[in-house]
């Protein structure tokens, strides 16, 4: 198992190189340049070119790519932002902390709402709770984040004046962005848990457990749940991974300074160092989350554990 984890972590290196290459390549083939974006349209082309030359933007893209890798791996240097002239790391890190906070809050809230409800709805299939919860989840899964965000803003900030509408001044600032992120995912988790539970409940081993004389509670919590959780965990991991990429829409609506809005801003200004460093950070986090999912998977399912540990047993 440790061997496997180390192997997966080492795999991060080619991932980072690949991500860097792809971004330089895309940046190279898309129009626009940082000089024009920063200096504005009233400046002569000669000045813009001079600006681009000064920041090193006009180098061939392969050379830029190799320079960047060299600086990153040999000196731990992620470059200087074209726009703010600040070290990239200082710009990204505080915003990424916000994103991580929101992502984990969103994951926890969506899990805490979605999974227990899903379990309940599966155990009491066709009950009133099941019907109502299924209907609501249908609805919520279909509502886009920006609609949900605006409705929340309208209710809690504008009408009730309970929560701040702008940024994160204190802990209350987390509430609405978290809800906006978590509710659609909670609906998704609910549906996923329910169908996975229903699938598991109909398995033969559940009948075996009942035939042993196990109580209904043991049957559900011990035999059904552990098997049903496997696909749900993948789902949670995937969603967490996506949340760690930044929630652009929610960040915009609630004016939260996260990584998503930062990267979108800088793409329009062609601020290559920030875009690349941000993307690398995101891909590293994503890979680590997926690795964690795999580890949890192996922890729950002995068949998968057996695949990682080569020995028979």
């Amino acid at each position: 198992m440790y061997k496997y984890i180390i192997k997966r972590l080492l795999f991060l290196i080619p991932t980072v190189i690949g991500v860097t290459f792809i971004i330089y390549f895309i940046m190279n083939i898309t129009p626009g340049d940082p000089g024009r974006a920063i200096l504005g349209s009233g400046v002569s082309q000669a000045d813009v070119d001079a600006y681009n030359h000064a920041i090193g933007y006009d180098l061939p893209f392969l050379q830029k790519f190799i320079n960047y890798l060299e600086n990153m791996f040999l000196h731990g240097d992620f470059g200087i932002s074209y726009v703010t002239k600040q070290p990239v790391f200082n710009e990204i890190w505080p915003r990424y902390i916000t994103t991580i906070e929101l992502a984990f809050l969103g994951m926890i809230v969506s899990t805490v709402i979605g999974i227990p409800l899903g379990i309940y709805a599966a155990v009491k299939q066709y009950s009133a709770t099941d019907t109502v919860a299924s209907l609501i989840s249908f609805l919520l899964a279909a509502v886009p984040t920006f609609v949900l965000g605006l409705v929340l803003l309208f209710c809690f900030s504008l009408k009730l004046n309970l929560l701040p509408s702008y940024g994160i001044p204190d802990w209350t600032g987390y509430i609405m962005p978290t809800l906006a992120i978590a509710i659609p995912i909670a609906a998704q988790n609910f549906r996923f848990t329910k169908s996975s539970m229903l699938d598991s409940i109909r398995q033969d081993y559940v009948r075996t457990a009942r035939a042993k004389g196990a109580t209904e509670r043991t049957v559900v919590w011990k035999h059904v749940l552990k098997n049903a959780l496997l696909p749900v965990i993948t789902q949670i991991g995937l969603n967490l991974g996506l949340l760690l990429c930044g929630a652009v829409v929610a960040e915009q609506i609630f004016s939260v300074q996260g990584i998503g809005s930062l990267i979108v801003d800088r793409i329009t200004q062609k601020d290559e160092p920030v875009i690349i460093a941000g993307t690398i950070l995101i891909s590293i986090c994503f890979t680590i989350v997926m690795l964690l999912v795999d580890i949890i998977y192996a922890f729950i399912d002995p068949r998968i554990r057996a695949k990682y540990t080569k020995k028979r047993g």
Partner: protein, 344 residues
């Protein structure tokens, strides 16, 4: 436990009717069957797929699918009490303890995420909460030994066992509380032939050693001949013929369906080019024939068979439900049926 009711019968089923109800249709799975199992004896329930054998077994354990399966009528009397009227909690104490079941498909009958030791131990713990952890473990090892698995393998998971070994584990789970009645639902159908023989021999051996009564559900007459004392032949949710193994295998009169079953078995002593299968299919359980259920496929079908349910014909312990023998003198079997020709 040894209270004597009804002359040492452990289980008596009276006129059991079970349906599966869905929004679209009503499947009549079991249509008024009655039989009993004597203490220490093995009763075979024989019939083709869909005859209602497993449904009968599941109703005995109260494990019919919750929403769809319904017992419409009848009684299942186990040790003097009607199981169908017991509260859930009491039924739970019977399950796995007094009555336990070996399932058809060992591949899916074990929970993939727990060790086999856990799964056997769970059954022991449920019905013997007073046992300490060490005692449970000891009992688990004993059970594994009993079914021929090295006890040290108790920490392994189901995916590490072959099909035959898994079925042994399932049998160990079923027998670990020394049940009074063991229901074996086609225990060897999913296994290959060599393993079938081993598993059957093991079940028979354990049954004799523990003095367990048994309900053997199968479609294999060879298994019946080897393991059973009494036999019920089931067709479309009804028992069409019942009796001792001798009655069924060497009686001189049979239900045409039983004859068909025997005709489908290859005989090594008689030279024949082809087997003689029963033509046609089982009737649609949502739309059963008005008369005898077997009439559409019966070679000896008469006018009356299509319109009227057959009466019982008894010859000692041998019972046949068929119009062929109605009107005959019961109980001695001397008179030959008046008409043994087909009407059509």
């Amino acid at each position: 436990m040894e209270q004597l009711n009804n002359n040492g019968q452990i289980l008596e089923i009276k006129d059991l009717k079970v349906v599966y109800k869905t929004d679209l249709e009503v499947v009549e799975a079991v249509n008024g069957i009655s039989f009993k199992i004597d203490k220490g004896k093995t009763c075979g329930l024989v019939g083709e797929t869909g005859a209602g054998k497993t449904t009968t077994a599941l109703s005995i354990l109260g494990l019919l699918p919750e929403r769809t399966g319904k017992v419409l009528d009848g009684e299942i009397i186990f040790e003097g009490r009607n199981i169908l009227e017991l509260p859930d909690e009491e039924l739970r104490h019977i399950r796995g303890n007094a009555i336990s079941m070996v399932f058809q498909d060992p591949m899916s009958a074990l929970n993939p995420v727990y060790t086999i030791g856990d799964q056997i131990g769970e059954a022991i713990k449920i019905h013997n909460p007073e046992l300490s952890k060490e005692d449970v473990e000891k009992r688990v090892e004993e059970m594994l030994q009993l079914v021929g698995i090295v006890p040290s393998r108790k920490v392994e998971y189901p995916h590490q066992f072959s099909g035959g070994m898994k079925q042994r584990v399932v049998i160990a789970i079923a027998l670990c509380c020394e049940p009074d009645l063991l229901i074996a639902d086609e225990p060897t159908t999913a296994l290959d032939v060599t393993i079938q023989a081993q598993v059957l021999a093991m079940i028979a051996d354990l049954r004799d050693r523990l003095g367990t009564s048994m309900l053997m559900i199968t479609h294999d007459l060879g298994i019946v001949a080897k393991t059973c004392d009494d036999v019920c032949i089931m067709y479309a949710g009804k028992i069409v013929e019942a009796g001792t193994v001798e009655d069924i295998f060497s009686g001189n009169r049979h239900h045409p369906y039983t004859e068909g079953l025997f005709g489908s078995i290859p005989n090594l002593r008689v030279k024949s080019a082809r087997l003689k299968p029963i033509s046609g299919l089982m009737p649609d359980p949502t739309d059963l024939p008005v008369g005898c259920e077997f009439s559409p496929r019966c070679e000896k079908c008469m006018e009356i068979c299509r319109t009227q349910k057959p009466d019982i014909y008894t010859e000692g312990t041998h019972k046949i439900y068929c119009h062929l023998y109605s009107g005959n003198v019961n109980n001695n079997g001397e008179t030959v049926p008046e008409e043994e020709k087909t009407d059509e």
